[in-house]
Symmetry: C2
Subunit: 253 residues, 2 copies
């Protein structure tokens, strides 16, 4: 009887991020959303499997969205839902789903909380255009909502607003068995322990072992990260990694 | 006679970035390479059109690489060329190109510059495995080279090493007509000027006009960025944007 038979099979929920915006591809704006969402999803038990960044071009957004939404449990988009002509995400998402798009009375009501009638001009009304069948995602910062259609969550590109929207969305998501992770600082050079580490990895195929070199105060060093959805397997593999590090360290002295 | 007939047609050279690494998707490591490469390419006249981030999974790397390399002039990959078992980029690139991979004498010679024979263990020798037909990319930081095969440039994930490799690669690349860009801080809220800005954009279809809201010391503000490969068209469109901002500002007072 293998150890894994004693535990429930893991529930796997996956995701992709689609970042939309010429300003990221030109390098003018440095993305701050990918890392934030990645860490956030990991913490709630959703496994981020792919990220794409595409320009403000309808066909590119539609193609990427349709490729991602059939492959992963969820797709999170950032960017392109503002009030100006270059904000084309909502229209592209409607096109990807083959649904119509129009001013949404619920979104208009949200905008009225912030803007007087005379300020609700054509540009701001653009932000109330929502694909048919979508649910709104509240925006506590600046009111203009994101939306959810099918398994796609359309959020703002401005980090503070995206983060507020993600907080609204997260409790509604199906989550899976969290991937647990444990890190040990080897105090050794990656190239020195690559061989024995590969043997540990081979002996523990159900955990993922990553090796990340960095410079510590005393010179080249390596973080070894062991990841698994199974706490016991993680613990066993990490013990092997630590044993390997100790043994290698003694041999090296 | 249109103004564009007086100038040479622009040369367009495109690129994609493929970031390889579980640590980026888990959020453990925050990518610093996308923004750096994006800005670098823009500055030398190469247009970054797409970015993908994929995990350390051979099939995912192969599929993404094959999708990107047929679409863009160049593909730049980062990550997965270190000495440990989870570094599988070189093998995946060989698989994508359908070529063999083996220890490369040129790469071994580079490693010997840094490592004594007894330190050139199996793990470090892993970093000398290069797909058949590839040219090496020198690594001035830690010797283990990247490589170029076809239109694909395979670079390290560690930012300092990637940056050194990009400096080596850049002079060998074909570059296109630079996309010029000019920015004006509107001093106005994005939603206030979205309408007139859309009219300017419509009247100048050959330039790209982006609108990026931000918070300045005095409150909500907007940067308007005009981009074009044609300096004259950019100047004309930017003059229109500034005129619009002045007129709107006066009306608003």
């Amino acid at each position: 009887m293998s150890a894994s038979q004693s535990s429930q099979p893991p529930v796997i929920v996956t995701a992709a991020i689609l970042v939309i915006g010429d300003e990221i591809l030109s390098g003018r704006t440095k993305d701050k959303n990918i890392g934030y969402i990645a860490e956030y999803l990991t913490n709630i038990g959703i496994e981020l499997r792919e990220v794409r960044v595409v320009p403000d071009v309808t066909d590119e957004i539609v193609a990427a969205l349709n490729a991602l939404r059939v492959r992963y449990t969820y797709v999170f988009t950032t960017g392109g839902i503002g009030p100006t002509h270059d904000d084309i995400t909502a229209d592209a998402v409607a096109a990807a789903f083959g649904v119509s798009i129009d001013y949404d009375p619920r979104a208009v009501a949200m905008m009225r909380e912030r803007f007087a009638a005379e300020d609700l001009n054509e540009a701001r009304m653009r932000m109330t255009r929502i694909p048919a069948g979508a649910e709104l995602i509240a925006n506590s910062i600046s009111k203009a909502p994101g939306f959810n259609i099918g398994n796609v969550y359309v959020m703002a590109g401005v980090p503070a607003i995206m983060q507020a929207m993600l907080d609204v969305v997260a409790p509604t998501l199906r989550t899976g068995t969290k991937i647990l992770s444990d890190t040990v600082q080897a105090g050794l050079r990656e190239g020195d322990i690559g061989g024995p580490l590969a043997e540990v990895a081979k002996a523990h195929p159900d955990v993922s072992i990553g090796s990340y070199p960095f410079w510590s105060e005393t010179g080249p060093d390596t973080n070894i990260v062991v990841r698994s959805r199974d706490a016991e397997k993680l613990q066993v593999a990490m013990a092997e990694v630590k044993k390997m590090i100790r043994e290698y360290g003694q041999r090296a002295r």
